[in-house]
């Protein structure tokens, strides 16, 4: 049986490679963002999505070693498809080629091409022609050096700024990333980064060993009973993310059905550049019974904190330590976290329990405001959680219940079902108490933290035929307690619809519309009593992506929004045209974008192409023009370089940005250079 499959695959692959007129476009961060990520609503959300995309691209890509959790992390395959793939791989052995996926029931050619963007087969029997970027992605060991510089002088670097606010270091961001994999079981990584304005010192007493941010890990996998051992920086994903982790949350995007279920990937090394949100210490996963694993983790991570004499009033997460004032918050306290989790996986059932304990070396207090009555104060808290996931043919059910001490209860439960071969439906119900607390949560919901929210989400995806598909969702939610800028209990809803048309493999068109109704405070003129009103925000995107010739691709995008609150409506629009030229080792990407927004509520976020393992989601606010040019060149098979130049010119202002990051003048130029050595 197997030799016949091999012969068929070779014939298919050979004929496909010859008949293939256009190379498969390899995945870029922008493409991944467009396919999977949603429209960010805040800068924090945009930054979080950027980091998650980078982490997603750092995942193992070998189809033969990817676990079920790795496959679920991409959010493309349904639980049933993942189950079928793993069963096929167990029965028939390793995949010989990516084309062998067609033999699995439930996998058709469009799914295969979609998956082929992210996964590959190492040492395949039939090797499709690799472009340089794809070859880079499949290399597992590399050294990456990056240099970024904004040419204009920011306020923090000027001489007329007060000395205690002046930035100490140079105006460039420098970072070094190293990753190495040995024999497939041992991985190690290192990240050293200095933000613009931060200086490099050697102060072991201040916990600074050179650059401002240093992060690394050592990971050992599959050594008998020891399934995983991580030393250094890591993240722990459990259940649906009510307590910790929760997978790569890319917001509400194109995958309205499969991505509502978070993947409980267990331990993962931390590879993002954000300076908070990771655990630092040691963690192990052991197989204690045939289908049961136990994970124990311990972490002692430094955190920034704004201190008063005895307590911390807030925990900043920007990771900026540029001037004297920011340096006093650097690593002001220690966060010690310990926890243990048990997981049972057998066939269609996946269940687990988790306990974590977190302690802050200085107690956390809050400056009282109307909206933070239920925020955490104190020096320690504990979380307990139970989760369950069950797959049965076309139906997948998941649930998690968590409780924080002190605090309240949170639960999320949902199901994914394929009602017909063309229709997938997901329903998720959630209820998070106002006083539920977790620092590393990443659960499904409207806000970034699983707190003070209850709602029902229904998502659907319908494939009309191989060319046309539509997807959408409807989310009705309620915030029982006060929130930032909304001082009453509030109801709201959000719906989204997206239609994609792919007439040929090289052309994609899509149209997308989203509406969100949410309440907001109205400013009270003469009293301190707040009234709230429901504001409606509508976003739409029209995009077209087509290949003119084998080397030239064009992409046009029109994006806009309107926001109405108490009768007044404001609008914003952005238009972008991208050009991409692929000639052998040289790739040139250019963008020309115009934007015109009435106010900050209508700011537009557009995903942009960036150097490898970086992701850009700039915010277009005001009136102006933005140009981006990205040149990649592969000198040899092991040495690649990138040069990126971005220019933004505003027509409605003479100063860009606020505070210490402000630039005088209407233009902003940024240069980014990166070199990658693979081995």
């Amino acid at each position: 049986m197997r030799p016949i499959i091999l012969i068929i695959i070779c014939i298919t692959a050979a004929t496909t490679t010859v008949a293939q007129e256009y190379p498969r476009p390899e995945i870029t961060t922008e493409q991944l963002a467009e396919e999977l990520a949603g429209v960010p609503s805040t800068d924090e959300a945009a930054e979080a999505i950027e980091e998650n995309i980078v982490q997603l691209l750092s995942l193992p890509t070998d189809l033969n070693t990817a676990t079920g959790d790795d496959l679920m992390a991409y959010g493309i395959l349904s639980p049933q498809q993942i189950q079928d793939l793993l069963t096929y791989r167990t029965q028939h052995g390793d995949f010989l080629s990516i084309y062998e996926l067609q033999a699995i029931p439930g996998f058709d050619l469009p799914t295969l091409y979609h998956l082929a963007h992210y996964l590959h087969v190492a040492h395949p029997a039939a090797m499709p022609a690799l472009t340089p970027r794809e070859a880079l992605r499949q290399q597992e060991s590399y050294v990456l050096m990056r240099y970024e510089h904004v040419l204009e002088t920011r306020n923090g670097f000027r001489d007329d700024t007060p000395p205690d606010q002046q930035f100490r270091g140079s105006a460039a961001r420098r970072s070094l990333r190293v990753r190495t994999i040995r024999k497939g079981n041992l991985r190690a990584g290192l990240l050293a980064e200095n933000d613009p304005g931060e200086s490099a010192h050697w102060h072991p007493g201040n916990r600074q060993y050179g650059p401002d941010h240093l992060s690394g890990y050592l990971q050992l996998q599959r050594r008998g009973r020891l399934q995983q051992l991580v030393l250094g920086d890591y993240q722990f994903h459990f259940g649906q993310g009510l307590v910790t982790g929760g997978g790569f949350n890319l917001g509400r995007g194109n995958e309205t059905v499969t991505a509502v279920q978070r993947n409980a990937g267990g331990l993962r090394p931390y590879t993002a550049a954000q300076e908070t949100g990771f655990l630092r210490g040691m963690a192990t996963t052991l197989a204690i019974y045939p289908h049961t694993t136990a994970t124990t983790f311990f972490s002692r991570a430094p955190r920034d904190g704004n201190l008063t004499d005895t307590a911390t009033t807030s925990l900043p997460t920007t990771g900026l330590h540029r001037n004297t004032r920011e340096l006093t918050t650097r690593y002001a306290l220690q966060q010690t976290t310990g926890g243990t989790s048990v997981r049972y996986q057998r066939g269609r059932l996946d269940a687990g329990a988790l306990y974590t304990y977190t302690h802050f070396s200085l107690p956390v207090t809050r400056v009282a405001t109307p909206y933070n009555q239920f925020y955490f104060t104190g020096s320690h808290y504990q979380n307990v959680s139970l989760h369950l996931r069950c797959t049965y043919t076309h139906l997948a059910v998941f649930a998690e219940v968590a409780r924080s001490f002190p605090g309240g209860l949170a639960h999320v439960a949902g199901m994914l079902v394929s009602l017909t071969p063309a229709l997938d439906v997901a329903i998720v119900h959630r209820r998070y108490a106002s006083d539920y607390y977790t620092l590393q949560g990443n659960a499904f919901g409207q806000s970034s933290q699983p707190r003070n929210e209850s709602g029902l989400y229904t998502g659907w995806k319908y494939r009309f035929n191989r060319r046309v598909s539509a997807c959408g969702y409807m989310d009705l939610f309620r915030f029982p307690s006060l929130r930032y800028r909304s001082y009453t209990p509030a109801n709201g809803h959000e719906w989204f619809i997206r239609i994609s048309y792919q007439p040929v493999k090289t052309t994609t068109l899509f149209a997308q519309l989203r509406e969100e109704v949410n309440t907001r405070n109205l400013s009270a003129l003469d009293t301190s009593l707040y009234r709230t009103s429901a504001g409606t925000k509508r976003n739409y995107i029209l995009a077209c992506d087509y290949a003119v010739t084998r080397m030239l691709r064009l992409k046009t995008r029109l994006q806009g929004s309107c926001y109405s609150l108490t009768g007044s409506t404001t609008h914003g629009i952005a238009v972008a045209q991208d050009v991409r030229l692929d000639c052998g080792p040289l790739t040139i990407t250019a963008r020309y974008a115009l934007f015109n927004t009435d106010d900050y509520d209508n700011r537009q976020y557009l995903y942009e192409n960036d150097v490898w393992l970086a992701s850009a989601v700039p915010m277009y606010d005001g009136q102006g023009v933005r140009n981006v040019l990205l040149i990649e060149y592969a000198f040899t098979r092991h040495l690649r370089s990138w040069l990126r130049y971005a220019h933004t010119r505003y027509l409605d202002r003479d100063e860009i940005g606020t505070g210490l990051d402000a630039i005088k003048g209407p233009a902003r130029n940024e240069i980014k250079i990166q070199v990658a050595i693979t081995f």
């Binding site: 009602l419 017909t420 439906v425 229904t458 409807m474 309620r478």
Partner: protein
């Protein structure tokens, strides 16, 4: 002979009292978010009367719709639908409220098929009663139609209170006219998707959608969503021999839950030749 007697008994067993004229009812309709414009069952008597035209067997049903925690908002209704040679006749009664304030409605409906379209109308007598303020009774008419454009596509529309009768002349209060436009698409032999837009003059448009999934023609699962006012719905149904059992609930964020249970029964005789 038995059928007309049955009709009379059902029709006169309740006093007709004042009634809220918009009577979306039925656990099947509620499970689908009240997207009843394209549904054909006994409850079409109180929803879209044109749905009666497709009823081939005589059926009687009753329902109780309860608002959790506040009993004056509970509703009770009973209907019967009988196909005849001239078309299908339906009759129903409905009650809302408690002793302090209540509304009663008595309705008679008729529907027939013309080609691919079904047309129906109903006339109802509504009585409002408020303790201390008195009793008002009025008559109102609603009409509706359903068109089967393709075997999988239905389009329906109906108007409640076509002529806006006046409830209270001094305060210029009239029964609201409401226009509903909806569609039902059979995505597969087991899946029905419905969507509807409802416009009540003076209010925002309500957008509704629902999905129904049938397993082995016995178990039915329903889900629905409404916008303005926001609500989500879910329900289940069970079909066996002559019984039709349905349950549905509705959640209004911030306001509470409504639960509804419906029992239907196919009466013995087949359609008259």
């Amino acid at each position: 002979m038995k059928k007309p007697l049955l009709l009379l008994v059902v029709a006169w067993s309740y006093h007709a009292c004042a009634q809220s004229s918009i009577t979306d009812i039925g656990a099947r309709a509620q499970g689908l978010g009240y997207t009843a414009s394209c549904l054909s069952d006994a409850w079409s008597t109180l929803n879209n009367p044109a749905g009666l035209a497709k009823q081939r067997k005589p059926v009687a049903a009753c329902t109780y719709d309860a608002f959790a925690g506040f009993s004056p908002f509970n509703r009770l209704a009973a209907v019967v639908a009988v196909p005849t040679s001239a078309g299908t006749i339906g009759a129903g009664v409905y009650r809302f409220g408690d002793n302090l304030y209540n509304e009663h409605l008595l309705t008679a409906a008729f529907a027939n098929t013309l080609g691919i379209a079904s047309l129906g109308g109903r006339i109802h007598y509504i009585q409002y009663h408020a303790d201390g303020l008195g009793t008002r009774g009025l008559i109102s008419i609603s009409v509706g139609g359903i068109t089967q454009l393709t075997p999988a596509l239905l389009v329906g529309a109906y108007i409640n209170n076509l002529f806006q009768p006046t409830v209270d002349r001094e305060n210029n209060e009239q029964l609201p006219t409401r226009l509903t436009l909806g569609t039902g698409i059979t995505l597969s032999e087991n899946v029905l998707w419905t969507a509807e837009a409802t416009q009540d003059l003076g209010q925002a448009t309500t957008w509704k959608t629902g999905l129904e999934y049938t397993v082995q023609q016995t178990f039915i699962f329903r889900v629905g969503v409404n916008l303005s006012p926001d609500a989500y719905f879910a329900g289940m149904g069970f079909r066996r021999q002559r019984f039709l059992l349905d349950y549905a609930f509705q959640h209004l964020p911030g306001l509470g839950m409504r639960h509804q249970a419906t029992v239907g029964y196919y009466l013995s005789q087949p359609t008259t030749p």
